[in-house]
């Protein structure tokens, strides 16, 4: 599992992905961690197939007892089907996830972890002195969906928005936006169901100061590529499956 530190300040952001040992027939995914002095938040910690590699990678950055928070942007298996395993590994942790999906996510096994339901209008996660905002992203693509914004690090963890279907071992940052567009187009047109939801999200996100847009699949966007992505997404017709 490749680990890339994408922010280093009073706290850290680490991106995990490009696992060489991942079975070929499951989609590659990016996992993210925010590490503060005493706590560690894992965002979209991944599917159960990925659990061992992911947890082993996290142990380079935090001891098990300091993994205190998990976040699931939505209910998909590549996002959080590992929940039942984290549930047995972590003795003192919370799962922040959409209220809408609580009864569904508990099917993965959630006995010792405390489920903290995120209401439709969002909320915050406080990790030591760091406050992270939970930005509503409903219908992008899931009907109950959130992204995580860190105003200090200027990073938006954007779930499936900005995702791309890539060849194994692709670089972690977009290097040529124009070439990257074709890797994202079908994913967004087919998985995202609502132009209205897309416009509402873009309007909300344009008000945030973002240095890095960090999706759950494919490459991250930094600097001017963040605005390029928002402009491109704005002009894209989604929901093409009907």
């Amino acid at each position: 599992m490749k680990m890339t530190k994408i922010y280093e300040g009073s706290h850290q952001w680490i991106m995990f992905g490009r696992d060489d040992n991942k079975p070929d027939n499951i989609i590659d995914s990016n996992q993210y961690a925010v590490r503060t002095s005493n706590r560690c938040l894992l965002m979209d910690p991944g599917g159960s197939e990925l659990f061992s590699a992911m947890m082993a990678a996290v142990l380079h950055h935090a001891p098990v007892e300091q993994i205190t928070d998990l976040f699931a942007s939505h209910q998909d298996p590549d996002v959080i089907s590992s929940l039942g395993l984290w549930d047995q590994a972590l003795s003192n942790a919370k799962l922040h996830a959409p209220a809408l999906w609580e009864g569904f996510l508990r099917h993965y096994g959630c006995e010792s972890i405390e489920y903290v339901p995120i209401p439709d209008n969002g909320g915050t996660i406080k990790l030591d002195s760091v406050e992270l905002q939970l930005i509503p992203a409903h219908y992008l693509h899931s009907s109950g969906n959130f992204h995580v914004y860190d105003a200090k690090a200027k990073i938006l963890m954007s779930g499936d928005v900005g995702a791309a279907l890539e060849a194994p071992g692709a670089p972690v940052f977009v290097e040529n936006f124009d070439l990257h567009v074709e890797k994202m187009r079908y994913f967004h047109q087919r998985w995202m169901p609502s132009n209205q939801a897309k416009r509402a999200w873009i309007e909300r996100v344009r008000n945030l100061d973002i240095d890095i847009l960090a999706p759950q699949h494919g490459r991250m966007f930094k600097g001017d590529d963040v605005k390029r992505f928002l402009d491109w997404f704005d002009g894209l017709q989604v929901g093409i499956g009907v």
């Binding site: 061992s52 947890m55 142990l59 098990v64 039942g84 047995q88 096994g109």
Partner: protein
């Protein structure tokens, strides 16, 4: 890896064994209800036959009682079988977690915080072993209850034999009463065979 594979195979066969018990027992329940019906039928025939079937009348009460007790026993066993199923699910999850945690500890060799994985590995191992011990205890209890059903099936066969003797003295009612005896005997055979299959499916886990 060999150990993990054989552990997973055992869990799979546990799922199959527990599911097959539920299936066999639902068949036993149907047959026990048939015996109950046969008892009601026999009672009506014996009543019509009057003195000619005097010895048969108390037998019908025995048959009915036996059917009722069997239904009760099977209902209780079904509750246990459901608990056993849940335990198998728990064991599957706990075994999977233990295997994955061990892999984490191995993969993370050299990581700064690898030592912190020791406690979760140990806890996962203990939870898995607890589950396995509980499964063995519950299997032993279930086998005891299945033995009680076997006992009922054997009693039903004795009653069927007595019924045949009494039927032979019932004159023109001989055929009807022999048919009752026959159906009780067949039902007893079916119950015996089905319960025996349950016992075989479970017995390998008693001492595994």
């Amino acid at each position: 890896m060999g150990d993990i594979k054989s552990m997973n195979n055992q869990t799979k066969s546990q799922f199959v064994a527990v599911a097959s018990i539920t299936s066999e027992l639902s068949a036993v329940m149907v047959v026990a209800k048939e015996i109950s019906l046969a008892a009601a039928n026999a009672k009506a025939i014996a009543f019509r036959a009057g003195d000619k079937a005097k010895g048969f009348q108390p037998i019908t009460d025995f048959i009915n009682e036996l059917a009722k007790e069997t239904i009760e026993l099977v209902t209780n066993i079904n509750v246990y079988a459901l608990l056993l199923y849940r335990l198998t699910v728990d064991e599957y999850r706990r075994t999977a977690a233990y295997n994955k945690f061990e892999l984490v500890a191995k993969t993370a060799e050299g990581a700064m915080y690898v030592e912190s994985m020791k406690a979760p590995v140990e806890a996962a191992k203990n939870r898995m072993l607890d589950c396995q011990r509980q499964f063995k205890r519950d299997v032993a209890m279930l086998l005891g209850q299945l033995e009680a059903v076997m006992h009922h099936a054997r009693a039903a066969r004795v009653i069927a034999a007595n019924s045949r003797i009494e039927a032979s003295q019932a004159g023109e009612y001989l055929q009807s009463l022999q048919a009752v005896a026959e159906s009780v005997d067949n039902a007893a055979h079916t119950i015996h065979d089905n319960v025996q299959r349950c016992r075989i499916a479970l017995s390998i886990y008693r001492n595994s």
